[in-house]
């Protein structure tokens, strides 16, 4: 990501901002630009795990109700259907045409109930806010 958007995203700057500029960072786009390629975590000579630090910092933004629109929509879909990608109607027939077993059975209603319970009421409400 740093290679694609050198002006907008830099993991070193992001780490500095976690300690020096936290309130602003929690409102910024940059906090959500890490694409978790893990190269910084792999290479850090001090063994800091920036990827994990960025996730925890996003948690602080989340607690303030600041979850960007697109990630929020995908998480809402996961909590509704158990999958990050929505399955179109009639998809099993389409899969059958390619000799593939039905997908409808691969996530049971019980599994969705369990995942919603683990995620919790408070977070489910935060997704709808």
């Amino acid at each position: 990501m740093a290679k694609a958007l050198p002006g907008k995203y830099n993991p070193r700057r992001l780490l500095q901002r976690v300690s020096n500029d936290l309130p602003e960072l929690l409102r910024s786009e940059e906090l959500w630009l890490c694409a978790w390629c893990y190269r910084c975590t792999e290479r850090c000579p001090q063994g800091i795990q920036p990827t994990e630090i960025f996730l925890l910092t996003r948690n602080l933004a989340s607690e303030e109700g600041r979850i960007p629109k697109n990630p929020k929509a995908i998480i809402r879909e996961i909590m509704r259907s158990g999958r990050s990608v929505s399955v179109p109607d009639g998809f099993d027939e389409w899969r059958e045409g390619y000799g593939l077993p039905p997908i409808g059975m691969t996530i049971s209603p019980k599994a969705i109930e369990e995942q919603r319970k683990i995620f919790g009421e408070e977070l489910l409400r935060r997704l709808d806010a």
Binding site: M1, E29, L33, C34, I78
Partner: protein
Amino acid sequence: MTEYLLYPGCVASVRELGYEMAMRAVFKRLDVKLRQRDDFNCCMPACLVHSVDYKRGLALTSRNLAIAEEEDLPLMTLCSSCFGNLSRAKYLLDSNQDLRRDVNKLLGEVGREYRGKARVEHVVTSIYKDYGPDGVREMSVKPLSGVRAAPFYGCHLFLPQRYSGFDDAEFPQKLDRLIEATGAESVDYHEKTSCCIGCGSFFGDVSEEAGLKLAEIILDDVKASGADAIVATCPFCMMQLEVGQIKLREAKGKEYGIPVIHYVDAFGLSLGVEPSELGLDLRRISVSPLLQKLGRD
């Protein structure tokens, strides 16, 4: 008989049917049994779900590990992102007892527990471990002679090393060795271990812009290497590098025409599996030039 617990994942089973077909055809040929369950949930990408709540996200990912322990079989993912999330959860819970206790408290609310016994594999790591380059070479009946293939590792198959444990973090070579075992030549090029951001960036226009820019850098490099095809390991990478070609044609008039296949496609072709059984006609960029070169179009 080798047996795995299949973890289908969202992207492979909804958007990449060709890959799923190839995976099933190859493991059927190898007499590998794939057991399925109906109660896995999404791997809960760290960049999305763990971003809003670290521990609950981790518990949701680990719920899948707890299910795998009931079956006492290694999990096998199709997607490198699923592999990355599940192996990360396993690493974190195995190396931090306090975190494991907290996560198990959440799992306990739905009557589940992670005990530390789950094993996580990816289609490519399982092929490497079960057969290795020597085994792949021995089984090859229709070698991909004359094909120049550009390996594209994708991030989570090998990064970070402490999670995946599959290959060297700076100089991975296992995919190259597996490709060579099919009879193809593995082409070296600068971008072969780059990130495509396909599985990690869901931010709208900014992610689109960055993804297209990275696809262009990677595709230009593959083109310059003279490779006949890209051989990837992850359905997200495959989408980024195929859709990238379509978008760059529309936006810049660039014509790459580089087929993007998965390693199981290359392996399947060398095993003598028919291209139609591998779902190769479902690829977004035509693989005909590659099949013509092999005399199998």
